[in-house]
Symmetry: C2
Subunit: 145 residues, 2 copies
């Protein structure tokens, strides 16, 4: 069946927990390219690549860390979540250890606990991070709508 | 940021549980178009549509049922899951009541308990159904790889 109409673009984002540090903090990236601000590591899923493979690849490229995927947080697909185009992000929780290093697409890389997140977060990543900490602290998964 | 390369195609599938019947059975569709066989109701996510909205729309179109999304089972994205093209399916569990009616794209519609599924299942829907029943009966979520 040919498929010619425009589709939403599949992406992944990865909440990388650093197991070898107190409070198991997470890694965020300060974007080099617009939109500027902080973001959860992630990117586009290549054709022929599973979302799990894309998540491990993007984590490696953007933080230098080899990660193990632990859980699926949710799928974020609100058409307004990225003003540039409609993306559908599968958001994973992953574990890693060691020192993350910013990749080429990052201005900076930061390690954050839940009580000290950066204020300027891109896309819907403030919502994703709220959902993530709620799930991590209280076991409540995000709503489906 | 323009985005011109080929992407995997986002889809949804919906495991619709009929609450008002003994054993809470699920609805499957016998496909009218190739590949022939039985399948979980679902389809493509439109540009500008959330995965949750797509799931409710496809469930309505293919079974006539208004559904409530209950849970996210998993995301299936193995490049070989559909031989025609690379699709990424967000698979929901949903609840409904009443009598399902086959839509235009279906040859037939069936209501199934876990011990009497049809043998000819399309795509990776045999795997999805195994994962679903394992999760429903034992609370174990599918593996992420």
């Amino acid at each position: 069946m040919p498929h010619s109409y425009r589709n939403p673009i599949p992406t992944v984002d990865i909440l990388i927990e650093l197991l070898d540090r107190p409070h198991r903090p997470i890694v965020l990236i300060e974007r080099l390219h617009p939109p500027h601000g902080w973001a959860i590591p992630g990117g586009f899923v290549d054709y022929g690549e599973s979302v799990a493979a894309a998540a491990c690849r993007e984590a490696q490229e953007e933080t230098g860390l080899g990660v193990e995927l632990i859980d699926l947080l949710a799928v974020y697909s609100d058409p307004s979540r990225d003003s540039r185009q409609h993306t559908i992000s599968t958001v994973f929780i992953a574990a890693a250890a060691g020192d993350p290093q910013a990749g080429d697409d990052a201005k900076a890389l930061g390690i954050f606990e839940s009580w000290q997140l950066p204020s300027q977060l891109c896309f819907d990543h403030d919502q994703i991070l709220r959902d993530y900490w709620r799930y991590r602290h209280y076991g409540l998964r995000p709503r489906l709508s």
